[in-house]
């Protein structure tokens, strides 16, 4: 399952929901819009993301728009809009944590 988070984890609980509920097998996390703030380097969520074992993808246009080019944690994969589509296609289902 592909989990998509579009809200800042400093303002909403979508990311917390993923980390609590997501079935790790075959899961992936895609951060878009303000959700990209979850992946800031040295941020409050970095350890939990790494510990989850879930691969993390960041939508680069959203990250770039917010000036995070050099401010993201290690271990995340950047994707463009085409990569977003590829991720959706590669998973059996998708949940948007609005």
């Amino acid at each position: 399952m592909l989990h998509i988070v579009n809200k800042s984890p400093f303002d909403a609980n979508g990311l917390a929901g993923v980390l609590r509920v997501a079935n790790k097998d075959g899961a992936a996390l895609l951060l878009i819009e303000d959700g990209v703030y979850a992946a800031v380097k040295n941020g409050a969520n970095e350890a939990a993301l790494k510990a989850s074992g879930i691969p993390v993808y960041v939508l680069q246009p959203d990250s770039d728009a917010r000036g995070l080019q050099t401010r993201l944690m290690d271990g995340v994969s950047m994707v463009d809009y085409g990569g977003f589509v590829d991720l959706v296609a590669a998973h059996s289902n998708v949940q948007s944590w609005l």
Partner: protein, 129 residues
Amino acid sequence: MSDMDFEEGGAVKKFMFVNRKAPYGTIYALEGLEVVLISAAFDQDVSLAFLDDGVFQLVKGQKTDGVEMKNFSPTYRALEGYDIEKLYVERESLEARGLSEDDLLVDVQVMSAAEMGAMMTEQDVVITF
């Protein structure tokens, strides 16, 4: 596709509607419920999941006269009449809000976060409100 994939002219898919918002502060819960009722017309395999503040949608004793909003909580009890009988509630979300199954206005299946995650994984379509 084989005949096995069809029932009454269309494929039956597993739809889960995930409710994560409290009932009156935003329009999400009511709109989600409307979509659930619409989905009943399509004879799909529908389930509802309640987590985070979504569990507040099912609390007994909602009384909205004072805020002049429609109390839509009785609708959850009517879902059975539309053959929507799979209501899942995440235990951790309930407990974090000081609630138990006895506080809920409809029969539900309470499950752990991990069980909820497994339930989500097996859906064809997940729609979150």
